[in-house]
Symmetry: C2
Subunit: 660 residues, 2 copies
């Protein structure tokens, strides 16, 4: 393990290629251990500290290589005196894994030219300097193209020619063509290359910007209690597209275990008609590669996916690496599970809790090579059937190196695939999963309801290193989480949480029932739904009175029309004098939004909000117009402090665009 | 160059040894590219983020290896829930280059025991769990020592024994001896080792804490204008030791060039009696390995070094890698210099300025291997003659990789050697030299005279990453720098700058003449001394009236008596209501100093200073005693705001110790 880089002999061996120091190369994550994330169409701005002994000038370039490039490309870096940094930028025009690094070399020609200018101005004799210039040019000749080669040769000869007048030789030296011909010419052996490459994972735009809708296809039938099929679910797609959703996410669609099947409200015994939890995957009809017959056939599923695509949406599947005791692999590959000393297979547990309907894989087993490949084949199978997005169940309970390998393997062949990490665990683990490759991540948004909590979470997501790799997908609710704020705040609370989710992050989602303001918990103090869809079929009228579909449709439209809502890293919070009124801006070139939300679902709240006029380029006392994108109404605002009055019975907040 | 770590096949090859994520290992500098710095007697506190999938417990240790260790040692890491970090500490008891890294493994036994406890408490049947425990124990048997081996074997047997009562088997499981025997036992193949080693350069204490005195030995004679010798200089050593200095630094002591020798006040022509600049190294008497005959012999020098050592001081030499045109190497190795197209050797220049008395090395020449070794031999030679500290002249004009190699090479054999970098250049280059190995560095202190400037510089030195590697040595003046503040502020200005230097940093120095408040510049607007010692011999009465030797002696005593003044990273600035009064604290366990300085050398200044009572552990309104270590006088202070009144005619400031 000895990387004795710093011993004298090792250092000596490095001399040849390290005249120049290149350090603090950005963007990078953990010194290049993990790729940072971008989407196609972004550009990569590379910066570096580059310095060398003495006063000679330096030239530098960023080298980069896209997933389809057979050779490295490069772009010149330029020096910024104020920051003492070198910078360059290149476009990320293809999805997949990109690499870049930085290299630099002493700019002999530039140095010579600059010094010559100073000496001539000071009236020095520069005869020898002209000979030196000829040397500099001659040294780079082997690297010049044939066309420049001849011109350079001529210039070098003229600089040395004692028959020419000094004046004419200086003209040759200072001729712009000479500088043009010399630009970028460098003897390969003079180049110092930064010791590392850095990686960027460039995703398709939906990786960063999308509205998700989670639904159980089995609840999409029309008759109460009757098991819905893909054909029923398909009928809902048009309305979901109308409402502006981009992704429809389905809990597992595979055959469901019988042994220890859970009944309604997570009861330990199920009646024969009870459908069971879809996360107990596998029975005699098949496992992760099968579809529960009660939902339809693979062809039905493919048709469902296609119909969604025709409507501009895509289907996300749940990827839950666990089995019911009836999964075919339990018998085919008992060694893929933990076998206890008594010969039994270990079910899931979190002592003293037992989960006897679920059997976890032993991803660290002897036969892990085959097991890991089998896990990958599940993804391959559904990708082949049109799925490009996977919501991954509890990834933090499987080896992290497994995920790093799996995601890299899939993305090498299918860089368009998106993985959403559902890990509710300590922040470093959540972030670790995002670093190793998950495209998006669940967050603690669901539990952040006060202004202080929201400020803390979203300052972290928008204003720290997380911007480089952690894309939070804000769910207002999930089949597991119905927060007390929703249980107690009624319809206004649902409108508030929707408004926050849709405007605090480019990625957000709701789980069906949210639009109907369903808010009954199984019991006081619990976040579990009463009669949860996890164990029952729940057929509803999706347009029932009191729904908030208008809000959803308006917000999804506003998100699509305003680029400021489509990115991460452009959010700032601003003061109000009422802690129930949260105020933030989403700013972007020509698209500045000011968002005010009344977090109190029960009471009208008013107060003064401090507009960041400086950031918006407004004079401190100027008046300006803002348009509420939710209502179309315009207001005349003035200077920093402006009055806001929000009644939850009428509206949850304002999404104000600064009119220019 | 492809480090395609992130491709799927590479990831797969890493699976075997990376179940656990170990990241953000500290302390480190630039991801381990450079060593951080410590002194012997410090301890190294290692911290890391360590996590793994699932709920199993983790065990971790820091591995480390001192310069004399033949094998790696290790120390257990412990987990801190609040920060979600793992920490360990080990003592740095030997000087030289240390290495450390971190490793971790799943704590199977700890996990099993904790879960068993919960299951027993919940009344579960744990028969199979006991068999599992026996398995865990048996798996680690090959790694146990023979003594524990038998006991573990017995325990495993008992856990499985159906003839024993459950109660007795549980007793075996929960017996403390079992846990003791299992502690630290791990199957090597389960260990994840962090991918990097980090380095620490551990120096002797003088690397961090010392008072320097710079003097020209040739000026230490007693007759005006007569060239002093080492024997004369030796007579001053006792007084310098009395004043509390640790290091006596001499400008180059080698034979001085004749060609283009500079006369008084940097004039272009020297008279035969003019001694020349010692930085124009080399003439027919020798080069960097010789001593100027007018100073004495090598034996005289060795005697001088020995005498200093007997007084508890050491001699620092100047290491200036440049030659006069008369240096022997110019003729012996013309290829070690830049040879121009007309066959001449290039002298130093910074166009349009020319330095014709100096010839720089071409450290990038073809024969660089021999040249670099020759440069190293200079150091070897003087180290052999008792020199352990070198002040390096203009290191930023020589290749950085040369210094990294040179310093590492010297320190491999002589880890006690200290290198002080004299680089006045852009901050990143200054810091780069410190990172690559220089023990100490000159700073911009000499030019920082206002409170705002001082706060900025010393916040950077004490409260940023620089603490890990950049040890600023504050010179109040140098032969090149007599700041306008000293020229104009008279004796009070000298006292202020001395007080600041001695209390803002554990390392500081003065250049001789400072104690006599010499402040005449060559001309208005220049920082050069009139009749500079660089070109003339200057014999003075070192106890002339108006000297500030008492201040020097007092401050050096206070520095030795107060550990808070001997380290870096423990300084904080505090508010005053008068910008001429700067107020800072140096705090340490049982040694808290409050330092107030009147920066105005011309006027009495008074105001309120805000004491950081919280940091000092004082109640906001309590009264406490402070003792001025400069005068011995005690004051009764109370709470935060206290009144200060400083008259520059009387004193420069207070060094107050909080009396406990």
């Amino acid at each position: 393990m000895a990387n004795t880089d710093l011993t004298a002999p090792r250092l000596k061996s490095r001399i040849e290629y390290s005249r120049i120091t290149i350090e603090h190369v950005y963007p990078q994550l953990d010194a290049g251990r993990y790729p940072i994330k971008r989407i196609v169409g972004d550009s990569c701005r590379v910066g570096a500290d580059i310095y060398m002994d003495g006063h000679d000038l330096i030239a530098a370039r960023a080298r980069f290589r896209g997933p389809n490039d057979r050779v490295w490309r490069s772009v010149e870096m330029s020096y910024d005196y104020d920051t003492d940094r070198w910078n360059a930028e290149f476009p990320l025009d293809v999805i997949g894994l990109w690499r870049f690094t930085v290299e630099a070399w002493p700019d002999s020609f530039g140095t010579w030219l600059a010094e010559l200018r100073k000496k001539v101005a000071a009236g020095h004799d520069v005869a020898v300097e002209l000979l030196e210039g000829a040397q500099v040019i001659t040294n780079t000749l082997p690297n010049s193209d044939p066309c420049a080669h001849r011109e350079l040769q001529t210039a070098a000869k003229q600089l040395c020619d004692p028959k020419l007048k000094l004046e004419d030789r200086l003209k040759v030296a200072f001729a712009p063509e000479l500088a043009t011909n010399m630009a970028g010419l460098v003897n390969e052996s003079h180049i110092t290359r930064h010791r590392r490459e850095y990686h960027l994972m460039v995703d398709r735009p939906e990786a960063r910007f999308a509205a998700w809708y989670e639904m159980f296809p089995r609840s999409q039938g029309t008759e109460p209690g009757k098991h819905g099929k893909f054909r029923d679910a398909e009928k809902r797609l048009r309305r979901l597209a109308e409402l502006g959703f981009d992704v429809v996410y389905l809990p597992p669609i595979h055959p469901i275990g019988i042994t220890h099947r859970k009944g309604p409200n997570n009861s330990l015994t199920a009646q024969p008609a009870d459908p069971g939890s879809p996360w107990a995957i596998g029975n005699s009809d098949g496992g992760h590669l099968a579809i529960a017959p009660e939902l339809g056939t693979v062809e039905d599923f493919e048709q469902f996916v296609k119909h969604a695509a025709d409507l501009g949406m895509e289907i996300a599947l749940d990827y839950a690496l666990q089995c019911s005791p009836d999964h075919p692999w339990i018998h085919e590959h008992p060694d893929w599970f933990v076998i206890r000393p008594d010969g039994s297979i270990k079910h899931a547990e979190n002592p003293p809790k037992k989960y006897e309907d679920i059997v976890p894989f032993n991803l660290w087993c002897e036969d892990r090579d085959n097991l890991w490949n089998a896990c990958k084949e599940i993804l391959d199978y559904w990708i082949e059937r049109g799925v490009k997005t996977f919501r991954v169940d509890n990834p933090h309970t499987k080896p992290f190196v497994f995920w790093e390998w799996l995601i890299a393997s899939i993305k090498e062949e299918h860089p368009e695939v998106i993985f959403l990490s559902e890990a509710f665990t300590r922040p470093k683990k959540m972030q670790g999963l995002a670093k190793l490759g998950f495209t998006q991540s669940y967050t603690y948004f669901t539990w952040k309801n006060t202004a202080a909590e929201l400020r803390e979470l979203f300052t972290e997501l928008h204003s720290t290193e997380l911007v480089q790799y952690f894309r939070g997908n804000l769910f207002t609710n999930t089949p597991d989480i119905l927060h007390a704020y929703l249980q107690k705040g009624g319809r206004p609370a649902f409108r508030v949480r929707l408004l926050l989710a849709a405007t605090l992050s480019p990625l957000y989602g709701i789980y069906s029932g949210f639009e109907l303001c369903e808010n009954v918990a199984i019991r006081e103090g619990s976040e579990e739904y009463l009669d949860s869809e996890k164990y029952q079929i729940r057929v509803r009228d999706w347009e029932a009175p009191g729904n908030i579909n208008d809000d959803i449709q308006a917000l999804n439209r506003i998100r699509r029309e305003n680029p400021a809502l489509q990115t991460q890293g452009n959010l700032a919070f601003h003061p109000t004098d009422n802690e129930q009124l949260i105020f933030y801006s989403r700013t972007m070139w020509r698209n500045d939004l000011l968002i005010l939300v009344n977090l109190d679902p029960n009471n009208r709240q008013a107060g003064m909000a401090d507009v960041p006029v400086g950031v918006l380029g407004l004079a401190p006392d100027s008046s300006y117009e803002v348009e509420d994108l939710l209502t179309g109404r315009r207001y005349e605002w003035r200077g920093v402090r402006n009055y806001v009055d929000l009644d939850p019975a009428v509206r949850a907040g304002h999404v104000l665009r600064v009119v220019r």
